[in-house]
Amino acid sequence: MSEIFGIPVQALLGQLLLGLVNGSFYAMLSLGLAVIFGLLGIVNFAHGALYMVGAYIAWLGLEKWGLNYWVALVLAPVVVGALGVVIERTMLKHLYRLDPLYGLLLTFGLALILEGIFRDQFGVSGQSYPVPEQLTGATDLGFMILPNYRGWVVFASLAICLTVWFVIEKTRLGAYLRAGTENPQLVQAFGINVPLMVTLTYAGGAGLAAVAGVLAAPVIQVTPLMGSNLIIIVFAVVVIGGMGSILGSILTGLVLGLIEGLTKVFYPEASNIVVFVIMAIVLMLRPAGLFGKEK
């Protein structure tokens, strides 16, 4: 059996793997969006730009300062998280009492600023980032050849996503976070520093985007536009999954990546829009998204 519906199994599995890799990025980014939206009520349009900054930190680290991939994987989220603290403290905190639309508009402006600065500094052409030495090569799984780096990306992002899910759903800190989204005044009255928690949540979400950026750097070209191209698909993922559920955003991200990969095999012309078509269909059937709660 070397063909399924006239498609060679190798090609099919290859595309499915690519889909899974993309799906991992969708999952990590939509997870960050969901966490930030949950506690801050802000749709973080700058999320794609923060992801892009993460990838550039990895690239710059290697090119200019000779820092390897593993250092970047720690450094990027720290730097971008610090940037997140500044953004939240100086700008976002003024918007919590307003219509959430203002948060969207402000972060849209931030995305433009970040993108413009990187475009001015590095141009629009893509930079390639080498796969780290330890992860070069490929493993023969018997039914397919798995490039080690791609396997690592899927593994690492799943591990990160599940950790975040565990922290939010199963730990005391997560309980505070969830309570904070329900009733900030009450949680504050219990002696918990809610503003600090909010700041750290935004920083954490931003850091998550940066990690995704570093993971993506060796797989795709690093360009100033890489974030804005991705963020809109991630928004569609969020709409399909429904903003309410952490696990929902992870699952939806992965599944949509896979569906996109499959479409690339069977009907390549539609692969760019399949996510949006699914979004339209899901909204007709379930306006609150697959995992969302109807209000």
């Binding site: 918007l95 508009l105 849209f108 433009l112 970040l114 698909i233 709409v239 829009i273 078509v277 306006p287």
Partner: protein
């Protein structure tokens, strides 16, 4: 002079300035572009400013009309008036389809859904066989309006665009002041109450959405004729962002705001493009942030507020 008369006088002065502009040495093509985006922003404001719906995908409607008009006029040899009519209808139909899906959710979800649907339109324009892909449609002829008016003359074309702009502007004013417009404002202020009063809110919102996309399409069709091309930047989401900025900067929910916003942004882009390169994006981004943080009422909104405060002061 009461407030209403002074406002009318102000509008007549603006109109007079617009009429003499091409003779005062202002580049007519720039003025046409700015007027087209002013129509676009007025259409957008009808939705955001008066109905409270933030569409983040309005470029899709301007862009699809721009492509439809461009292709029909250039490749199928249609006359300009039929081209505009067809382009505007395409935007209206597309608006109906997107509206039917998007109207089911509110606020932030509505914004994200319109954005995603617009992205679908973007990829279709990128891949469809007749749109010219990355190059877009170039060299669209202006032709003769109704077989008589030679639009290839910049001044004639300018007055045609100006006439359409004035018509759209008056139309928007009329809509907002009509009983229908009052219902829209009621929905914006308190949707549950509008529902409880027995209004079929979804139908009102859908009609507002389609009206807005139709006018956005008209702006796109005119723009294609005036500038002679339709490209991917007409359907790109950054244009959807720009029209939000035009409305916000000028003052949403005011009549003059979007027009002033559109002229400011188009002017800024024209003026800065050769001078600062990529920094245009940064400057636009900073304007966005400053508007949201410091003056959410926009230029016109702040002026009206200042006037109101002054009047109160005088009476006291």
């Amino acid at each position: 002079m009461n407030a209403q008369t002074s406002q009318r006088v102000a509008w007549l002065v603006v109109l007079a300035l617009l009429v003499v502009a091409p003779f005062a040495g202002i580049y007519p093509v720039f003025m046409m572009k700015a007027l087209c985006f002013a129509i676009f922003a007025c259409a957008f404001n009808l939705l955001l400013g008066y109905t409270g719906l933030l569409s983040f995908g309005h470029a899709a409607f301007l862009g699809s009309a721009a492509y439809a008009t461009g292709w029909l006029v250039r490749s199928a040899g249609w006359s300009p008036e039929l081209g505009i009519l067809a382009g505007t209808s395409v935007a209206a139909l597309l608006g109906l389809v997107v509206g039917l899906v998007a109207i089911r959710r509110q606020g932030i979800y509505f914004a994200m859904i319109t954005l995603a649907m617009a992205q679908m339109v973007y990829f279709i324009c990128l891949q469809a066989p007749f749109t010219g892909g990355e190059d877009g449609l170039q060299g669209v002829p202006r032709g003769k309006l109704f077989g008589v008016l030679p639009l290839h003359n910049d001044v004639v074309m300018y007055f045609f665009v100006l006439a359409v702009f004035v018509a759209v502007f008056l139309f928007v004013v009329r809509i907002v002041h009509s009983p229908y417009g009052q219902v829209l404002k009621a929905i914006r202020e308190n949707e549950p109450r509008a529902v409880s009063l027995g209004y079929d809110v979804d139908r009102y919102k859908l009609l507002a959405f389609v009206l807005s996309t139709t006018l956005a399409g008209l702006a796109g069709s005119l723009k294609t004729l005036a500038l002679g091309f339709a490209t991917l930047s007409d359907v790109h989401w950054s244009l959807s962002g720009e029209v939000v900025l035009m409305t916000l900067l000028g003052g949403m929910g005011t009549f003059a705001g979007p027009v002033i916003g559109a002229f400011t942004i188009v002017g800024l882009q024209n003026f800065l493009a050769d001078r600062v390169g990529s920094w245009v994006t940064v400057i636009i981004g900073v304007t966005f942030v400053v508007c949201v943080l410091a003056f959410r009422r926009g230029i016109v909104g702040e002026l009206l507020e200042w006037q109101k405060r002054r009047n109160r002061h005088h009476r006291a």
